[in-house]
Amino acid sequence: MVSLTINGKVVRAEEGEYLLAVIRRMGIDVPALCQHEAVEPYGGCRLCMVEITKDSWDGWKKYVTSCLYPVEQDLIVTTHSDKVNDLRRGILDLFLARNPETPLIQKLAADYGLTRTSYEAIPEPNDCILCSICTRVCDAMGFSAISMVNRGHGKEVAPPLHQAPPDCVGCLACAQACPTNYITYEDVGNRRTIWNKQFELLVCDKTGRPTITKEFADYLIKNREIPEDYFRIDDASHREELADKMGRITRWSVTEEAK
């Protein structure tokens, strides 16, 4: 255990923990757009920047991304000093230039007193904030179907060569994890389209409701040893089957007792 000071309060933290986790645990609102519990910290959005210093540093200060900075003994952290807020405002200014129409960015910028960018907004803006949560989640799940491509102003999320990704199983984790709903998909009947790839959804034998894609089920059967039988029906039908079985056992045991 180490002890450190955050906004004047002394807190204890596990060794190896990152600053942001400790700050969040204290209930302090530090913005972070590229943070997701399922993946490793990334330091992409730079908004979780905090000011750190130590008594032994002779008044020197550092500005670090708290999501990537491990806790240290006797660290003194300030999360909302004027300088830190200024830094965040500068970053949000750039975000506003890139994503002027994204509600998440607009709201966050408004919290820091910005309504419009001081730069020239890009001509055809989209909602992608380049947080890379989608690609990192895809990596964490073991598919790596999409990635960041190009650099600088041309950077974007894309499948290889902008074609239907061969490794995608259509699990929708990228779209679900996207903080701005930039990644779109379409479910029509038992067909799903994402990243321009067509998938067939498994349907419940009893109700006909679609569940997950055939490719995803095949992956789970093969790599996670889930019996194929489990994907035959949907969750509601599974519950009904269980109730039916338990009902029959109950009826049988009650009549046996009566004999």
Binding site: E37, A177, A217, D229, Y230, D235
Partner: protein, 145 residues
Amino acid sequence: MNYRFVVKPELCIGCRTCELACSFAHARNGKQGRTRIFALDGGFKDLFVPVTCLQCEDAACAKSCLVNAITRNPETGAMDLDHEKCVRCMACVAACPFGCSLIDEQHELVVKCDLCGGDPACAKFCPTKALEYKPVTVTALRPAI
């Protein structure tokens, strides 16, 4: 984990108080959650069965979770789902053979029974004691293979 749900379907009158208790116990942001327990038709006249997560030993939900969001809580023995980690791929919803990993559409979450942290609300509210949560003595252990 010597506490278990003791379910007696012959006592269940299908009043769904357990569903209501669960829904309120799992409210978020002032909105009721989806119930994790279901009083379902047992296939015979007037026979209802309360169905909820069985907290399987070799759980399909945990095996199917590719980001390890579902883990065993050592204190309560429940398979707990970490909503912060969950990426809503629906693998566990499709994989659970008892259909007890489900989608809460209102909150846009995948949810499952967490035993309310060791004190299940459903069992407390059951008027006929069809559903109880009580300590059990282990009389038979699974034979070692």
